[in-house]
Amino acid sequence: MSEVQVKESGDGGKNKQKKQTLRVDFTPMVDMNMLLITFFMFCTTLLKPQTMNINMPTKDPVKDDTETNQVKNSGAITLLLGESNELFYYEGMPEDTKTGEKHYDDPDFLKPISYDTDGLREYLLKRNSGIYEQIQELKEQLQAQQIPDSIFRQKSKEIYDKAKENPRTPTVMIKPTDLSTYENLVDVLDEMLVTNIGAYAVIDLQEGDRYLLYKKTGNCEYLTEKQKNEGNGCK
């Protein structure tokens, strides 16, 4: 292939016609190309990083208590992100404003759960069953390009709005402690996406949650300075 036939015309007719093959050696060329390819492979990103949309609640003071109390106790799930990949959850509120019932000293109120598929995901899927299947169906239709994005959004909004009427529909409150990592937060937000949870928010830890965590784990670091000074055996 890399041979070029060169016909040498004999001068004077005396010389015999000589056929000379001119071969170009492509090996160095290949070497150089390989080097360039290696360079490009190491210096480039083919995959663009992914992103995750997040809406945080505003910092503005809440006008009245009705807004915070809108989360129905029966549907509320609170996730507490603890130290070294520990995760706890409780359902409802630790303090019932209507009946005055308190759960702070109930050792089984705060339950441990894992970040794994058979932990948090399984639990949320169970709680969100019904809605999960409907949204999943829509998502599949969207992926197969059977429906456009606008219809997907409209229909999923309808499903979520309808689900709100059911008091058992989960509303997840994510409360990361100071000892948790950023990865924990992203993992939990990820599970919300996977299990098609309609309503979730990242909220600051309250004193009651801190106390529950302290009771469960015995770790003083969960408490605020004020709580530590109030006794509790942490000084």
Binding site: S2, F26, L36, T45, M52, K59, V186, D190
Partner: protein, 230 residues
């Protein structure tokens, strides 16, 4: 005597085809690739199943390292980026020479207090990189404190939360030019933090963004694609 003819066989391998293939591959890589942007710190982002791609431009990336140092990468129209630099400098009484502004345009990301920006921009690229690696230096990272920060000699490094100023000036300048040209897309904010960063560090950044002066409640978290494991 019968002569044994030794046939001379050439071991020449034709490399033309091979070269063709490599050139094709090379072309592919050159056309599809985008270069990894040089970042002052190495950050391993957490994995997520979210498949939303990061926008290519009109983006402010907030890089957060493990210790909570903040670096910014302004990725939008260059004249507006320069205007942002001037506005932030003006707030603190600093001006920049055209040469310094030119260097700033070429910077992919930066993380120095505005008081030190001029000196930083005068450095060579090598020294800039070296400077960014100085972990314990209080002049690395954009200050987020609301109080005066002083160095060991008592000179003021920063006066108030410069991070909030950068973001607010950037969005203000974008909104002003958006009033003239409504087709301009909104500036988006993306947080890129290391997965081992503790939550309070990330929370500080989020709280700054939510502060009354900014009211930024929507932003993107940059993650890696995690393959769904069942």
């Amino acid at each position: 005597m019968a002569k044994v003819k030794v046939k001379k066989q050439s071991t020449f391998i034709d490399m033309t085809a091979m070269s063709d293939v490599t050139v094709l591959l090379l072309t592919f890589f050159m056309l599809t690739s985008t270069f990894i942007a040089k970042e002052p710190i190495q950050v391993t982002t957490p994995g997520s199943v979210s498949e939303i791609k990061i926008p290519e431009s009109n983006l402010i990336t907030i890089l957060v390292d493990k210790a909570g140092k903040i670096f910014l990468s302004l990725d939008y129209q260059q004249d507006q980026v320069l205007e942002t630099l001037r506005a932030v400098g003006n707030d603190y009484g600093y001006t920049f020479t055209p040469k310094q502004e030119d260097t700033f345009k070429k910077l992919k990301s930066f993380g120095v207090p505005i008081s030190y920006m001029g000196t930083f921009l005068d450095m060579t690229t090598e020294n800039q990189d070296k400077y960014m690696q100085e972990a314990g230096n209080p002049r690395v990272g954009i200050p987020t404190d609301s109080v005066e920060v002083k160095d060991t000699q008592g000179a003021v490094i920063s006066r108030d939360n410069e991070f909030i100023r950068w973001i607010s000036h950037a969005t203000r300048i974008r909104n002003e030019s958006k009033a003239i040209n409504p087709d301009l897309p909104e500036l988006q904010l993306a947080i890129k933090a290391d997965k081992e960063t503790t939550y309070p560090v990330v929370k500080n950044v989020m709280d700054d963004l939510r502060s009354p002066g900014l009211r930024k409640n929507r932003y993107l978290l940059i993650t890696n694609l995690k393959t769904a494991s069942n």
